[in-house]
């Protein structure tokens, strides 16, 4: 885990940024369950310059305040990117981060080099509604998030009794999830505009995602022209946590083929 940590000033916000590697920039848009640097980021940083900012509201960054919806969050990230002054990024986003990446891509597809969505929120699929995560306790949440709810990694991420020093970061992440994804983690209008995503897109999905099922992956696949889908067996909502090697392999393989 060899990354640098800095505080980025983006207009009047302070954003905690983790970064490592050299090469084309890869912007990692985190989810609200796993928001630390892992060996996935290490593996990506061997090939790319990985930039991992904390969302407003999450640990180390300033509060959500006037960021009220996905449109505000996209504008925030346009400002983040302008502040960094780097060339076109590859966006990699799991869960909430994936939804954010799509909201960016439908607006400014020309800004992006590639889009990698991992079990992304965002689609409204009436026949396969997303689970209301915020009404679940830890024991109910693990089988929804993980293919193997008894694995150590599931208990590490979603423990029955969280360590007291982890509580604030957990509450902040939950608050961020609630702000954007309260009851319905989607934008009902998003599917109308998926045709605007001209960016090469890879969709990675856990076969056993209990939050947004593979029906949501199919909805993205139908909507984004030229997108490719990789479904990972024995994997739930968080492939980067539950199947990190397979994920990294899929990402690097796809980007290499793109010549990115």
């Amino acid at each position: 885990m060899n990354y640098r940590e800095e505080i980025l000033t983006v207009r009047d916000r302070h954003i905690r940024l983790l970064r490592a590697g050299t090469g084309q920039p890869l912007l990692y848009l985190h989810d609200t369950f796993s928001y630390t640097w892992t060996r996935v980021h290490d593996a990506l940083a061997a090939h790319y310059e990985v930039l991992f900012p904390m969302h407003p509201g999450c640990a180390g960054s300033t509060d959500l305040d006037d960021i009220e919806g996905m449109d505000d969050l996209v504008f925030h990230y346009l400002d983040v990117w302008a502040t960094l002054g780097l060339e076109r990024p590859i966006l990699l986003g799991p869960s909430l981060g994936g939804w954010l990446a799509v909201e960016w891509a439908v607006r400014y597809p020309e800004m992006l080099r590639a889009l990698i969505l991992v079990d992304a929120f965002g689609m409204r699929v009436p026949e396969a509604p997303a689970t209301d995560l915020l009404r679940l306790d830890a024991a109910q949440m693990r089988p929804v998030l993980f293919a193997d709810p008894n694995a150590a990694v599931a208990h590490d991420l979603i423990p029955d009794m969280p360590a007291p020093e982890s509580l604030e970061a957990r509450f902040r992440a939950r608050q961020t999830l609630a702000r954007f994804a309260w009851q319905f983690p989607d934008n009902p209008k998003l599917s109308r505009y998926l045709y605007r995503v001209k960016t090469p897109t890879l969709i990675i999905w856990g076969a056993h995602d209990g939050v947004v099922s593979t029906a949501h992956a199919q909805a993205y696949l139908r909507g984004i022209v030229g997108a490719e889908l990789v479904v990972l067996p024995l994997c739930g909502h968080l492939p980067l946590v539950e199947q990190p090697e397979a994920c990294v392999h899929a990402v690097l393989h796809y980007l290499a083929r793109l010549g990115a």
Partner: protein
């Protein structure tokens, strides 16, 4: 001391094995358990009890608001107040709350309360609450805006009551070109505002700033925890530069009076457990949605609530020692309440006589004993001096 009779209007017909079979009395509690045939006599019996309180000389009667649950069957407290408005003559009607953040049109709350206030010639007390976490699930209101919506809705309602219309409202959560209240409230400048709460510091700080009445809710919590809430509220008032009046602190509490201590416990206890084990059954994620309280309060309560939740209560001895409710002969109840009043400094007693599935005969007996044998002896306790208008400090 001023005396108010509070009602929750609980669903009294849950199956015996409810606690084993269902994980919540709220939000997801299947409404196949509700039977309108049984609901009809139940509502009317509860209303009879509140009307009895009027006849017994309670200063006021209280209704409140909860949604999609078995705990309290008053999704519209204003409808209950309307039922009572023309069947009572003396009692104030304390509507505790309306849950302001749930409503996209706060002027509807302002209108309904003004209607009731005019109909009753000024007998309305307006409770305003943030509401339980569960209501945010039931009404799909984003809890990360709970506090903002509460404050803005309050500001809008008070302005609608006190300012000539029409005027425009340009806020963050509410925006109206025309606010123009017909009717206006009978009481001037507006009905008294009480804010019931369960101990969030940010609520108490705001109530102290506004100089409203803070009511420590009769939610099951040990006496000491609730005393600390009242103490914190008093400190907030001092920080605002004034000393809280006794009647600025309301004390909600479950009360049951019978002929003897032994009889009181025998009659009350089974119904208490119906309440504690069934009606309060709430999964923590439902009661604590993110943003419903500040981060600091979330952190402080997370651990504290785990320790003191009524679900953890198992013996009557714990209930007695913790001071969760006040149950006994008239003399015992008088002593306990006088002791509490002196230790807490409250001047408004908001007593809940109808717990769980207690039969109406017992509720009515308890209310009558309380009104006749306890109230007269507590009247002198914690009475504020009359407010002198124009006095020089």
């Amino acid at each position: 001391m001023r005396f108010f009779c509070f009602h929750l209007m609980p669903w009294a017909h849950l199956p015996e094995d409810f606690a084993e079979r269902y994980d919540s009395a709220w939000v997801t509690c299947p409404n196949t358990l509700y039977d309108p045939q049984l609901g009809h006599p139940l509502y009317n019996r509860y209303l009879d009890e509140l009307e009895l309180a009027d006849q017994l000389g309670f200063e006021g009667i209280c209704v409140n608001e909860h949604h999609q649950n078995a705990y309290g069957n008053m999704p519209s407290p204003n409808i209950m107040a309307a039922c009572l408005a023309r069947r009572t003559t003396q009692a104030k009607l304390a509507i505790l709350g309306n849950v302001l953040p749930l409503y996209d049109h706060p002027q509807r709350v302002a209108e309904e309360l003004a209607m009731l206030d005019v109909i009753t010639q000024g007998r309305i007390i307006s409770g305003m609450v943030v509401g339980t976490g569960m209501e945010y699930f039931s009404y799909n209101i984003n809890p990360t805006y709970a506090r903002e919506r509460f404050h803005e809705a309050h500001d809008l309602i008070v302005k609608a009551w006190t300012h000539d219309g029409p005027f425009a409202w340009e806020g963050k959560h509410y925006r109206f070109r025309y606010i123009n209240l017909w009717p206006k409230p009978y009481q001037q400048p507006h009905p008294p505002i009480w804010v019931p709460g369960s101990g969030s510091p940010e609520t108490m700080e705001w109530v102290a700033q506004q100089r409203y009445t803070y009511m420590v809710l009769p939610t099951l919590a040990p006496f000491e925890l609730r005393r600390q809430s009242a103490q914190y509220f008093r400190e907030c008032c001092e920080r605002e530069g004034y000393t809280a009046r006794y009647e600025q602190i309301g004390w909600g509490i479950g009360v049951y009076v019978a002929e003897t201590d032994e009889q009181a416990r025998r009659e009350y206890e089974p119904h208490f457990w119906y309440y504690a084990r069934n009606l309060l059954k709430t999964p923590a994620p439902l009661s604590l949605p993110p943003g419903h309280t500040s981060l600091a309060t979330m952190l402080a309560t997370a651990e504290r609530r785990l320790r003191s939740r009524p679900g953890n209560l198992s013996t009557w001895d714990e209930v007695e020692r913790g001071g969760y409710v006040v149950v006994g002969s008239p003399e015992t109840v008088r002593q306990r309440l006088e002791d509490y009043a002196q230790r807490v400094g409250f001047g408004l007693l908001v007593a809940n006589f109808s717990v769980g599935n207690v039969p109406t005969e017992l509720t009515q007996k308890s209310m009558t004993l309380f009104a006749q044998e306890v109230m007269p002896k507590l009247k002198h306790v914690n009475s504020d001096a009359p407010v002198v208008v124009g006095a020089v400090a």
